[in-house]
């Protein structure tokens, strides 16, 4: 029954994706750890960490697609959930530093010492335990999303209004976390991590392990999203996206549906953030920046909204392009990236995954099963 629940909606593409992900999750660490540096197939640690980061971005994109692609909620604040998850993990990593900080205080992180904090604030308690921190990485974004969604969806805030208040939310959090008084390290955030679960964060094995963990998390999240979207609940979500008020007249409590996916999505984003932080080594309020949320939206759009594989590819592609361009064309890369965004919108109107099969079908003359229509209603302005 459970097996059926998780797999009945899986398409062939989905299986292929999972297989590739599993292969990458195993192979990349192996190529990094088992092969000597001189071997042509050796995977440099730099690339492992980078790919691990992409995977966490992909997880964020997947979470966003769940609400935007399937339920029409355009969140311009998803980075907030990501960052909160990241902070939860960052706090754990911070506590793991122990007396190895520059001031050697066994309890207080460095930034607290030089700002003269005498004791650990209560909300830092318990974060020395990994399970607590991991749980918080899910619970904090989840609770914030739940409370935010509870009010917003009940009040029937929708369309661009919802988008903008999600942006206001992340912006407010950005400013709040900037404040040194908040006790999260102000603008510098949390950094200088040493180890996770006793493993040295600077060792290749830990990095490979984090990569594999990210792949696993992404795989599980993907399966969960497939299950959700292919269930009747998924169909209700699409119905809400297309004609919200009509759905109500059928007796569906739209706000409950929205709240459900919204919260699930926020928790997935939090998980992504928690996996992101140990791999990049820093979490600071910059992660709350509205531009980050917008970028995540762009990954989804590029990959193909309303397809689950699309956002994953989109996140990977855009970030790979960014990594590559910023080194290869440091002074022109914005032109390249900007042009990429425009080109994809114009020439691949349904994103990579939405459009390529069509183009392929056109080219080969075969017909393919189209993904759920990714077009949405006009924003309130045009309605």
């Amino acid at each position: 029954m459970t097996r059926r629940f998780f797999t009945h909606g899986m398409t062939r593409g989905g299986w292929v994706f999972l297989a590739l992900l599993a292969a990458a999750g195993l192979l990349i660490p192996l190529l990094n750890l088992a092969l000597p540096e001189s071997h042509p197939l050796h995977m440099p640690t730099y690339a492992v960490t980078l790919s691990g980061k992409y995977l966490t971005y992909a997880l964020l994109a997947l979470a966003l697609d769940l609400v935007w692609g399937y339920c029409g909620i355009l969140s311009l604040g998803h980075a907030a959930f990501f960052a909160l998850g990241g902070y939860a993990m960052g706090m754990y990593l911070m506590r793991q530093i122990g007396p190895r900080g520059v001031y050697g205080d066994p309890l207080l992180p460095d930034f607290m010492v030089f700002l003269d904090w005498q004791e650990l604030p209560w909300y830092w308690l318990g974060f020395d335990l990994f399970p607590v921190a991991l749980a918080m990485a899910l619970v904090v974004p989840g609770v914030l999303a739940f409370v935010f969604g509870w009010f917003a969806f009940r009040a029937r805030v929708g369309g661009v209004y919802l988008s903008i208040i999600t942006q206001a939310m992340t912006y407010a959090l950005l400013l709040a976390f900037f404040r040194n008084d908040m006790g999260f390290g102000g603008n510098n955030g949390l950094t200088d991590f040493k180890e996770i679960l006793g493993f040295d964060l600077q060792s290749d094995a830990t990095r490979a392990g984090l990569f594999a963990a990210s792949a696993l998390a992404l795989g599980l999240a993907f399966v969960l999203c497939v299950a959700i979207t292919s269930s009747r609940l998924g169909k209700v979500l699409i119905a809400v996206r297309d004609a919200e008020s009509r759905t109500r007249f059928l007796g569906y409590r739209v706000e409950h549906y929205k709240l459900f996916v919204w919260t699930v999505s926020a928790m997935l984003a939090g998980l992504a953030g928690a996996l992101y932080v140990p791999q990049v080594g820093i979490i600071n309020p910059g992660e709350f920046a509205p531009a980050n949320s917008i970028e995540a939206v762009i990954w989804v759009a590029i990959g193909g909204r309303g397809t689950l594989v699309g956002p994953i590819l989109g996140a990977g592609l855009v970030n790979f392009a960014k990594s590559w361009f910023t080194a290869a064309l440091p002074e022109l890369w914005l032109f390249a990236l900007g042009a990429l965004f425009i080109a994809v919108t114009l020439f691949l109107p349904r994103g990579l995954v939405g459009s390529l099969p069509r183009l392929w079908a056109k080219a080969t003359g075969t017909r393919s099963k189209a993904p759920p229509d990714a077009r949405a209603k006009a924003p309130a302005a045009a309605e």
Binding site: F5, A227, I228, S231, R232, L233, K235, V236, I238, A239, R241, D242, A243, S245, R246, T247, R248, F249, L250, G251, Y252, R253, V254, H256, Y257, F260, P372, D373, R375
Partner: protein, 257 residues
């Protein structure tokens, strides 16, 4: 002035829908004006009236889309409809077909019906829902009834106007509500289809309560039920079609000569 003032009695056992003194104004325009009406269990009622008389607004009020400024609105014996929202009201058993057809455009015709099917509406129920044979059968039946079986897998967004009307009727039937509110079902149908629809509704009304709004007099005649004429937000006349069509006022404001 209503010439057959039916005394509404909310406590009658066979009263399903009870409206008393319902008024709604939009920016000062009185769309419903002290409207009172009673619909009994398994009663079918036809509502006619000039464009802008308030027929659709009445349905909006009953289904929770529009809040009345004043008046009583009761469903069954106990439920005060003014205290509930659309989803609640739908789950009490009030279904509606809109004047302007609204369907889920990116869902297939079949999924549109499946979503409308009677059943538990919570997110978790939906998450773990598995389609039963009964449900599949019911969808098949409805598809052939609304003559869209050949388009069952087509996205509803691509249907013609009339096909969407039919799909909406199908969705309403799938809901299997106690009370069906049907706004202009015959619009865009051929005469033959209109007749068939009237037949279908009569059939349904044996076990359900139905309120139909329609401007097609042939259709209303075929229904052969009590007719309520609305005008400027309140009841102008009530009675059999022959009775109301003889009313001078009804002729003046509605039927014309």
């Amino acid at each position: 002035m209503p010439d057959e003032p039916g005394q509404p009695d909310p406590h009658r056992h066979d009263t399903l829908l009870y409206l008393d003194g319902v008024s709604v104004a939009f920016d000062g325009f009185q769309a419903l004006n002290n409207l009172s009406m009673v619909v009994g269990r398994t009663e079918m009622r036809a509502v006619i009236g000039p464009n802008g008389a308030g027929k659709t607004t009445m349905m909006d009020v009953i289904t929770g889309k529009t809040r009345p400024d004043s008046g009583t609105l009761r469903f069954g014996e106990t439920i005060d409809l003014t205290r509930h929202d659309e989803a609640d009201i739908a789950s009490f058993g009030i279904g509606r077909k809109f004047q302007k057809p609204t369907v889920f455009e990116s869902h297939t015709v079949e999924d549109n019906l499946a979503l409308a099917l009677k059943g538990r509406r919570g997110p978790f129920a939906a998450l773990f829902h598995v389609a039963s044979d009964d449900e599949r059968q019911r969808i098949d039946d409805l598809l052939s009834l609304i003559r869209l079986a050949h388009l069952r897998a087509a996205p509803a967004g691509g249907l013609s106007h009339g096909q969407k009307q039919w799909l909406e009727i199908g969705m309403l039937l799938a809901q299997d509500p106690q009370l069906l509110l049907i706004d202009e079902p015959a619009a865009g149908m051929t005469d033959a289809e209109t007749a068939a629809t009237a037949e279908l509704l009569r059939d349904i009304a044996r076990t359900h309560s139905v309120v139909v709004v329609e401007h097609d007099m042939a259709f209303v005649r075929a229904l052969d039920v009590k007719v309520t004429v609305l005008h400027e937000g309140s009841v102008l006349a009530e009675g059999s079609l022959d009775h109301v069509s003889a009313n001078r006022k009804v002729i003046d404001v509605y039927l014309g000569r």
